[in-house]
C-alpha cells in the first residue's frame, strides 16, 4: 500500500491557493510583509518540486538529524495500562521516537527545511521566536551549521524559566533577546519577531517554529514535519503489515501533530486525536484553544484563539512551556470543524503522572509536551481492544524539563 494521491475528496489537498483551510488560515499581515510572504510562497513552490532541494533536505535529515527515527513498541507500558483496563481491553502502545533527533525534539525537521529555503532565497540573517527554547535551540543549531547570524526572541518570563536552553542557544552562537512587551511569553516573542521582520525585510528570514502564522508557513511547516508521519506509516506497515488504529499527538501550535497526522489523513480507518494542554483545568487557566477558544485572527492567520468577547487575546497556561500558546495552527481548526480529527485535553497533573509512568515503565524521560499525549494514550488504550494499535508521537525528550518536574514534585535538585 502506498500513500494515496490527494484527490478532490482528499483531506490532504489543503490549503487553497490563498492559504485557506476552509475558513481558517490566510495571510493577515501588515502590508509591509505582504510582498515577502508572497515571495516566500513563490520560492517554496519552486523548492517543493525541485529534486535537488528535496535531496539536500533528505540528506541532512539522515546524516545530521539522525532520521529515520525508530518506531517502538512500548511493551511494558502496554502491560501496565492493561492492568487497569477492562477485560480484553488495552491496545498495543507504539511510539514514534522523534525525541531521539539531534537537539532532542521534532523542531529540527522544520528548521532544516526553512534554513535551506532561506539560503535559496539569498537571505543572510535568521530570526525566530521560542517559548520553551526547543525551537530556539533547533534554529540556533541550523544557523551554526550553515554559518548564518541568528536572533532568537524569547519572552522574559520564559528566559527565566528555561535557563538551560538559553545557555544552549548562546553556546550555539545565537543572540537571545528577552521580550518584555505584553505578557513576556511566547505570543509576545512572536509579536517581537514580526516587528523585527517588518523592519529588516530585505535580508531577514523568519523561521516560524510551528504550523501557524501567515500562509505559506502552516503549509510548509506541515510539509517539513510530515517526514514523521511518512516514516511512521511505512515503518508500521513493514513491522506489522497494517496501519495503526489511532494516532495521538500533543498540540502547542500543532506542528508535531500535523506532521504525524497528515500522511494518514486519507486512511479512513485511522482515527486521530490531538491533545491540547488543559493546564490547571478547562474551567481555570489553560492553553486549550480548540476546547476553550473561538475563531479569531492573530499572528497572520485565522484560527481558534483564547480570547475575551472583545477579541483581546488571553494568556495561556500550561506546565509545558511548549504548549503555552493561546492559538493553534489553522489546519487543526479546520480538521476539528470537519470532524476528521478529534481533539481532547490533558491537565498539568495528568501530564506529570504520565511523565513519571513512562520514565519507570520504558526507561524514557519524555518532554512535558508528549507527556500530555502519553496521558491521553493511557486513557484511550483502555477503551480499545488488545489487538488494536495506538501510536503516539514522542516528539521530545525531557532533559529540558527536569527542573520544572522536580519543582512540581516538590523535589530540590
Amino acid at each position: 500500500m502506498t500513500i494515496a494521491d490527494p484527490t478532490p475528496n482528499s483531506f490532504r489537498n489543503q490549503p487553497d491557493e490563498n492559504g485557506h483551510f476552509g475558513q481558517f488560515g490566510g495571510r493577515y499581515v501588515a502590508e509591509t510583509l505582504m510582498p515577502l510572504v508572497l515571495d516566500l510562497e513563490r520560492h517554496y513552490r519552486l523548492a517543493k518540486t525541485d529534486p535537488a532541494f528535496q535531496a539536500q533536505f533528505d540528506d541532512l535529515l539522515e546524516h545530521y538529524v539522525g532520521r529515520p527515527s525508530p518506531l517502538y513498541y512500548a511493551e511494558r507500558l502496554t502491560e501496565e495500562v492493561r492492568k487497569t483496563a477492562p477485560e480484553g481491553k488495552g491496545a498495543q502502545i507504539w511510539f514514534k521516537r522523534d525525541e531521539l533527533n539531534h537537539t532532542g525534539a521534532h523542531k529540527i525537521n522544520n528548521c532544516i527545511g526553512q534554513i535551506l529555503l532561506a539560503m535559496r532565497m539569498g537571505k543572510t540573517r535568521i530570526i525566530a521566536e521560542t517559548g520553551a527554547g526547543q525551537h530556539g535551540v533547533a534554529t540556533a543549531t541550523v544557523c551554526a551549521r550553515f554559518g548564518l547570524p541568528c536572533f532568537i526572541y524569547m519572552g522574559a518570563k520564559d528566559v527565566e524559566r528555561q535557563q538551560p536552553n538559553v545557555f544552549r542557544m548562546k553556546l550555539l552562537g545565537a543572540e537571545v533577546i528577552p521580550v518584555t512587551s505584553g505578557a513576556n511569553t511566547l505570543k509576545d516573542a512572536m509579536n517581537e519577531a514580526l516587528r523585527d521582520w517588518v523592519a529588516n525585510v530585505h535580508d531577514t528570514f523568519y523561521i516560524i517554529g510551528t504550523a501557524a502564522g501567515p500562509h505559506p508557513y502552516p503549509e510548509l511547516v506541515r510539509d517539513f514535519q510530515s517526514v514523521i508521519g511518512k516514516e511512521a506509516r511505512a515503518q508500521m506497515l513493514s513491522r506489522t503489515g497494517r496501519l495503526p488504529d489511532m494516532l495521538v499527538a500533543a498540540i502547542g501550535g500543532g506542528s508535531n501533530a500535523i506532521g504525524l497526522f497528515h500522511p494518514f489523513l486519507d486512511d479512513k480507518d485511522v482515527a486521530m486525536l490531538g491533545i491540547e494542554a488543559a493546564g490547571h483545568g478547562l474551567e481555570k487557566e489553560h492553553a486549550a484553544s480548540l476546547a476553550g477558544g473561538r475563531p479569531g485572527i492573530l499572528h497572520g492567520n485565522k484560527t481558534y484563539l483564547l480570547q475575551d468577547e472583545d477579541g483581546q487575546i488571553a494568556e495561556a497556561h500550561s506546565i509545558s512551556a511548549g504548549l503555552d500558546y493561546p492559538g493553534i495552527g489553522p489546519e487543526h481548526s479546520w480538521l476539528k470543524e470537519i470532524g476528521r480529527v478529534r481533539y481532547d485535553s490533558v491537565t498539568d497533573v495528568e501530564a506529570l503522572n504520565a511523565f513519571q509512568l513512562l520514565c519507570r515503565t520504558e526507561g524514557i524521560i519524555p518532554a512535558l509536551e508528549p507527556a500530555h499525549a502519553i496521558a491521553a494514550v493511557e486513557r484511550e488504550a483502555k477503551k480499545m481492544d488488545r489487538d488494536q494499535i495506538i501510536l503516539a508521537n514522542l516528539c521530545g525528550r525531557g532533559d529540558k524539563d527536569i527542573f520544572t518536574v522536580a519543582e512540581a514534585l516538590g523535589t530540590a535538585i
Partner: protein, 261 residues
C-alpha cells in the same frame, strides 16, 4: 462630499493625528487635537498584540486595556466625539481581531452608528479584503489602505482596488514610532503613488517634528503624527490636553507654512 474628502480639500495638506482610545482622558485629548488644528483624527483601538507598533503605542495599548477599555467604550467615545464635533472626520485604526470578532457586519454597523468615517486595519491586506472591506463599503465607511516601501508597482493596483478616503503611505519598512524615512525616499514614493491614484496620499510612521511635517507637507496631501502625541499622553497622564493642543498647533503651523513657502 464626505467629511474625509472635505478634510483633504482644504487649501493646505491635512494634519492627521493619532491617539489611543482609553489612554488618559480621551475625550479631553480629542478636543485638544481638534482645537490644535487637527484635520483628521485617528483613534487607535487598543489590542493585546499590536505587532506593527513600537514601544510608545504598545504601552498606550497596555495602559488602555489595563484601565479596562472595551470595544463598547471606544464606540461610546467615538459617538460622543461626533456629537461635539460634527465636521471633523474620525478614523478608527487597529487590528483585525477586535474588529472582526463579532462579525464584520456588526463592526460596520457600529461604526456607522457612532459616526466613524473610516477604518484602518493593520493586518487585513487586500488579499483578505472579504473579511471587512465589502461590509464597510456598503455601510458608507471608507476602508483606508496602506502602501509601504515594499509595495511595488505590480502590487499597487491590488492595494488601490477598494481603497477609499485616502491612501496611507507607511514611509518606513518597520513599526510605528522608531525610525524616520529619508525625505528623498518620501518624495519619490509619493510621486510614484500619485501617478496611480487620485486619492489623497497621507504619509506616516516616524513623523514626529514640525520640521519633518513641513518637508512632508510640501509633497503629500496629509501628514500623520502618532507616537509623538501618544508619548505626550504617557508623560502627562490625565492632564495631557493642554500640551497636546500646543504640540498639534505647532505641527499645524508647520504644515500650513509649507505650502505658502
Amino acid at each position: 462630499m464626505t467629511r474625509l474628502s472635505a478634510a483633504f480639500s482644504k487649501d493646505h495638506p491635512a494634519l492627521v493625528t493619532f491617539i489611543t482610545a482609553g489612554d488618559g482622558d480621551t475625550a479631553a485629548n480629542l478636543d485638544a487635537l481638534v482645537a490644535g488644528g487637527a484635520d483628521v483624527i485617528e483613534l487607535g483601538m487598543p489590542f493585546t498584540d499590536p505587532m506593527a507598533d513600537g514601544p510608545a503605542i504598545q504601552e498606550a495599548n497596555i495602559r488602555s486595556l489595563g484601565a479596562g477599555t472595551t470595544t463598547a467604550d471606544i464606540f461610546a467615545i467615538a459617538a460622543a466625539f461626533r456629537a461635539r464635533h460634527p465636521d471633523t472626520p474620525l478614523v478608527l485604526m487597529g487590528y483585525a481581531n477586535p474588529m472582526t470578532i463579532r462579525g464584520g457586519e456588526w463592526f460596520a454597523s457600529e461604526c456607522n452608528k457612532a459616526g466613524v468615517d473610516g477604518v484602518i486595519c493593520v493586518d487585513i491586506p487586500p488579499e483578505e479584503d472579504a473579511e471587512l472591506g465589502p461590509l464597510l463599503r456598503s455601510a458608507g465607511i471608507d476602508l483606508i489602505r496602506l502602501a509601504t516601501p515594499t509595495t511595488d508597482k505590480a502590487r499597487l493596483p491590488a492595494v488601490l482596488d477598494g481603497a477609499s478616503g485616502f491612501l496611507y503611505y507607511v514611509s518606513v519598512a518597520g513599526i510605528t514610532g522608531l525610525q524616520q524615512a529619508a525625505q528623498t525616499s518620501i518624495d519619490e514614493a509619493v510621486a510614484r503613488l500619485k501617478a496611480y491614484t487620485d486619492l489623497p496620499v497621507a504619509v506616516g510612521f516616524g513623523v514626529r517634528t514640525p520640521e519633518q511635517a513641513t518637508n512632508i507637507a510640501r509633497v503629500a496631501d496629509g501628514v500623520v503624527v502618532g507616537s509623538a502625541l501618544v508619548e505626550l499622553v504617557a508623560q502627562h497622564g490625565s492632564n495631557a490636553a493642554g500640551t497636546l493642543q500646543d504640540y498639534v498647533a505647532s505641527l499645524k503651523h508647520a504644515i500650513v507654512a509649507a505650502r505658502k513657502a
